[in-house]
Each structure stands twice: as C-alpha cells, then as structure tokens.
Symmetry: C2
Subunit: 244 residues, 2 copies
C-alpha cells in the first residue's frame, strides 16, 4: 500500500465545489472517477480544503492510499489523461504512510481577486469579483493587519460552520493593487467556513469608505457574523498553496 500526495489545480467554475455530492460535478468526484478508470479501484481522495462551488485552486493537496502497479512518477500524467480540462494533477509523490492531507496542514494561503474597472472583464470573469469603483488600498491594509495573529474569528464564520473552536491564527493578510486589479492574500493555520470571503467583503466596506479600519477591532470583539461585511462572491477566490 502506497500513500501518495497529490497537488491539484482546478477551475472551480461549473463545479459544485471540492466535496463529492450525488448527481453534481465536483472536483473530488472527478478525481475519484479518474482513479477508478486508472486502477479499477474505489479510492478515497482525502483533500485538505473543501473549497466551495465556484472557488478555484492552484495548490490544493490531497492524499490517497492505493495499491497500484502504476509507478508514482507516472501517476499525474495518467490521471490528467482521464480528467476534464479544468482539473490537473501537477505532482504526485510517495509520502510517509502517516501523512494526512487534512490534519498535517501547517498553513494555507488563499488569494482573492477584485476587478475595479468599469468594463466587464469577459475573459477572466469566472476568476474574479467584478466590482467597479476605486478602493482605498491603504485603509484596507490597515484593517487587514488587525486580523493578523491568533483571534476568535467567529464574526467571519458562516452560521453553517459546525467546528467547535473559531480560534485561528492568521500569519499574513495583505491587499495589493495592480492597475484595476486588487489582490487580497490571507495565510492562516486554518479557515472557518466562508472566512476568507467574509474577510474580503469586510475589507471592501473599509476600502469604499463605509467603515474606518479601526472598526475591524470591534468586529473581532463582537464575535457576531452580523457585525462584519457581506460575503464576497466565490468566483474571486483561489487556494494558492498549502504548507506541511
């Protein structure tokens, strides 16, 4: 039995998220199908992040326990031949039998992209939030910095989040602009359900001068989802990498 770590990229548009659902196309479901086609076996794909419908990834990680004569160095190519164009395995390597893609995660980084120009960016619209209007990047960065550190992020968790603790540690949270594009990058040891999208929606309220950056402290203290900004659309979100 081998334990193989897969690094996975996908365009989440048109998929109902990572996690397998009956009668809906999902990333995990497509990889499971490709594995069944390659090996004839029913293999569990243990993915680190359960990304939502419409969310993309350039560095999702999963592990699979498998007994297959296919050499691991040929695994990525063999799976890619069986996967749709929107999904790609960029690396497959043997790892220790103890490795678990979920519980061994140290940190992960999400990037969120906002397009602030007036014209609809037709070629990239599936991978960003089109929100016309300038944003105050400096103020957004002041607010973003307040999130760095170990905090209870309950105000940024969807009510659907069932996890026991809402305490997480954010290691970086920065806002950069390049022309009409704004990029928000957040690295943490873990994220609550919809946490990045709720942070982005809140930072945009600061960037459009509805809230002062100092209001971020109050939102954190309140521990109430209603205190933070509206959720940002899924399309702008991309899981960039996971560290172990």
């Amino acid at each position: 039995m081998k334990n193989i770590k897969l690094t996975i990229q996908y365009d989440g548009f048109g998929y109902s998220g990572w996690q397998i659902q009956p009668d809906r196309p999902t990333i995990q479901g497509e990889i499971k199908k490709a594995l069944a086609s390659l090996t004839g076996q029913n293999i569990t794909v243990n993915g680190s992040s359960r990304t939502d419908a419409g969310v993309s990834a350039l560095g999702q990680v999963a592990n699979i326990e498998i007994d297959s004569p296919v050499p691991t160095e040929n695994f990525a190519r063999a799976l890619n031949q069986r996967l749709p164009d929107e999904i790609s395995i960029t690396e497959a390597v043997n790892v220790d039998s103890e490795f678990d893609a979920i519980s061994d995660t140290k940190t992960k980084l999400y990037r969120y992209t906002i397009y602030t120009g007036n014209n609809r960016p037709v070629l990239n619209i599936r991978h960003l939030w089109h929100r016309p209007g300038k944003l105050d990047i400096e103020k957004m960065n002041i607010a973003a910095k307040k999130l760095i550190g170990k905090h209870d992020f309950k105000s940024f968790a969807s009510a659907a989040d069932q996890r026991q603790s809402s305490v997480r540690t954010i290691f970086q949270c920065s806002v950069k602009s390049d022309g009409d594009c704004v990029y928000i990058e957040t690295e943490a040891d873990g994220f609550l359900y919809n946490m990045v999208r709720n942070i982005v929606g809140t930072l945009v309220e600061v960037g459009r001068d509805r809230w002062e950056p100092e209001f971020m402290d109050k939102i954190l203290e309140t521990k109430d989802r209603a205190a933070a900004g509206p959720i940002a659309p899924a399309a702008g979100l991309c899981l960039m990498w996971i560290k172990y």
Copy 2:
C-alpha cells in the same frame, strides 16, 4: 434613425460563434436579444467578423440602425445589464449613416495564444492552445515574415470558404514568447475562413522543426490547403481590434 457603432468583447467559450443560428447560443443572437429587451424592436446586428465557435474577442465591432429614445451614451450600460457575463459592450457611439462595420473595415488584428508548458493551465485553458514542448520562435518569425504583403492565401483557407478572391494583404505577422506562452499576432485587411488558425498551425510545424521557414514560400505558391499545416484549435484565437 441613428447608426450606432458598438465595440464588443466576449469569451467565445460555450458559444457557437458570432453568427445567429437557430437553437444555439451565439454572440450576435445574445446582443439581438438584449436589444429587443431594451427597445422592443427586432434590430439587425451587423458584425465585422464572423468569429467561429470558441473564438473570443476584445475588439469586435458591429453597427446597428436604430430608432430609440435611449441616449447613445447610455446604450452600452443598458445593453450590458441585459447581456450574459461573457459578453460586454465597451463602447457605443453615433456614426455617420453610411458607416458599415463590415465593408468599411480597413484592417483587423488577431492574437493567437499557445501555452508550451507541461502543466495544464486550468484557469486559462479556454483561451489558449495547450501544446507542451518548446517552439523555435526565431524560425517561426522568419516564416511569419514571408506572409507579410499581398498574397494569394488559398493554401490557408478552409475548403468551406466561398469568397471569390483569396488575395489578402497581411501588414504584420509576428511571434513573441513570454515564459511558457507564445503569442502570434496577425494584422490584415481581411481574413479567409480559418486563415489565422491555419497560419498558426503551419508556423507551429516550423517551430517544432518539422519544416524549415523557407517551406512557407512553397506553401503560398502551391495554393492548395493540403500543403499547409493542420488547423490550430479555436480556443487560442482572439480578435483584438478593428481599424476603420
């Protein structure tokens, strides 16, 4: 009656090309629907380029003759509210009643994108040709230069092309690379059916060292489609602009 010139951007993926077809989504069809919703009228959308299924545009041009109380400066916004995300009117201006988007075209430029890296570029795969393997850009440019000028491009026209003359003038044809991306730009006073994609397919045969650049002269002389290279996929093609 006003004559309005529209500049149009679209993601061609998922559409059966520019031209209206029964029971299929087309760019012209969607714009016609948006115009009907806005004005209640059945308006002809006279587009300069009949782009194929899967081909995108950042600078398609069309004109419409219309009798509407909507001020022209509000037209783009009003249409965009009625168009799908993949289609956008970037400009609407009043033009001379004689202006015809097809016959008044002076030149137009198409850009073709090839991705030569091994990993499938999942986020851009709808807008490029994924063809792993290095290409010899220098040789491709020598071959591309031979196409510049007034020539009979019959060897690069699809057999389905019904136009009387296959003589066209190419003003520029260049190949550039940026990392793993290769961009081929071609400006001409007009293009035969599938002409750019057949040129790209031929240049790739040169770039992968199957043909010497000098072979391009022979292909032009032969005036036979069978002499040129295979057609490149539609996904890599984008209409960049049209000059009048």
